[in-house]
């Protein structure tokens, strides 16, 4: 399933091999759109995209060939609140062990079909084989808790799996395994780029702005899950930095307000936040690339 992409085949390159990694964070990873604009206008080619959860949607969109204006429009037009309001009452009854209820590992609190259908429209029922920039999608095996990367088969299924925050959304079967949200195993899969020997790794980390006080079971669960993602992300980032050979440019996207998965009306705020933060990081990205070239001279 996970094809090894070795960027250094055929001798030492002068140009660095560049990976862009986009972390989880609902619709907020759309803040990476200005990064793509900057790289494109600067003539910097991306050799590998890796995405997790909401970041997988953005990474796959860019890998698929959508340009920046397309991507913002797709988020606003398709990823609407209605995708998150189709409750599976049998699952809820099953969780409460009530009559007529049913719960097993294939079910979630929300019915997934609308989201899967939207992803199939966005990715035009295509497979990874038709993608323009090599793209890896981080998922988690629901049975083992182990992380996995998908870069073959149906894009929509892989992206759904990566974003399916269990138990809200049910897992999806790909091959002979059931997969859920990649953030459970690697919210910002930088280590995957390190393991593949990419020279300059641009990592877009989404800082989760949360309500200060949880007022319901769902809010508390979401709060706990988000905090544990952050903790996992930081531990993996420290290891990635220790293992890497050149530069990992971490772009920490901080949002001043709470933005839920369905707050597509806040897309302008998301893009503008990304643009403001990317502006400050341009010199760092350019320096990482230039320093690599200078070392190879």
């Amino acid at each position: 399933m996970d094809m090894q992409l070795n960027p250094n085949d055929g001798g030492a390159p002068v140009k660095p091999k560049i990976a862009v990694v986009i972390g989880s964070g609902g619709i907020k990873p759309a803040c990476a759109i200005p990064l793509f604009e900057f790289l494109e206008t600067s003539g910097i080619n991306i050799d590998l995209l890796i995405g997790c959860s909401g970041g997988a949607i953005v990474a796959a969109m860019h890998g698929f060939g959508y340009d920046s204006s397309d991507m913002a429009g797709l988020f606003s037009n398709y990823l609407t609140k209605s995708l998150f309001s189709h409750i599976d009452y049998r699952t809820l009854l099953g969780i409460a062990k009530m009559p007529m209820g049913r719960f097993d590992k294939t079910r979630g609190i929300l019915k997934p079909q609308r989201l899967i259908d939207v992803l199939k429209i966005i990715f035009k029922n295509s497979s990874f084989e038709s993608i323009k920039i090599p793209t890896l999608v981080q998922v988690t095996d629901v049975d083992t808790g182990e992380g996995a990367l998908i870069n073959s088969g149906d894009i929509a299924s892989a992206v759904y799996a990566s974003a399916a925050q269990f138990p809200f959304f049910p897992p999806i079967k790909i091959g002979n395994k059931w997969f859920v949200d990649g953030a459970y195993s690697s919210p910002l899969p930088v280590l995957e780029a390190v393991n593949r020997n990419y020279d300059v790794i641009i990592a877009v980390a989404i800082e989760q702005q949360l309500k200060t006080e949880s007022k319901s079971f769902i809010e508390y669960l979401h709060h706990f899950i988000s905090r544990s993602y952050t903790s996992t992300q930081k531990k993996q980032m420290a290891l990635a930095i220790d293992m890497h050979h050149h530069e990992i440019v971490v772009i920490n996207m901080h949002f001043d307000e709470l933005i839920n998965m369905w707050d597509v009306d806040k897309m302008p705020v998301i893009i503008e936040t990304g643009r403001r933060i990317i502006e400050k990081k341009k010199a760092e990205i350019t320096a990482a690339i230039e320093n690599f070239k200078n070392k190879k001279r």
Binding site: A238, D242, E247, I248, A287, A288, N291, K295
Partner: protein, 117 residues
């Protein structure tokens, strides 16, 4: 990019003052220079970052390398006078809870004394 390392003693503890900017353009040089400063009989160090303006991931590896060297010698170290910007870099890279940070040089001296007991 330019950086500068200065070494001196406070109460028998080695203080290394690190200033300037460290990234992949100078990290190998900085690592070699810092490692040289750690090759003495001392086990406890204070890394004073009051003049450190910028550090990239390559620069952070210089600190990780120094950490391994010091710990391998059964020693320990603390950072002090870390700016908010550098602290944020430590935080987002997961190193804030790996390293020990003290607000001031005086505080670092007290902390390292307690570690050396």
């Amino acid at each position: 990019m330019k950086y500068e390392l200065k070494v001196y003693k406070i109460e028998n503890f080695t203080v290394i003052n690190i200033s300037g900017k460290i990234d992949s353009s100078n990290s190998e040089e900085a690592e070699a220079e810092l490692n040289l400063m750690l090759e003495n009989n001392d086990r406890y160090y204070i890394l004073d970052l009051c003049g450190l303006e910028y550090i990239s991931s390559a620069g952070l590896r210089v600190f990780l390398s120094a950490s391994k060297k010091i710990k391998n010698n059964k020693g320990n170290f603390v950072f002090c006078s870390v700016s908010e910007e550098i602290k944020e870099v430590f935080d987002i890279t997961g190193l804030l809870h790996v390293f020990t940070l003290c607000e001031t040089l005086d505080g670092a001296v007290e902390k390292i004394k307690s570690m050396a007991l």
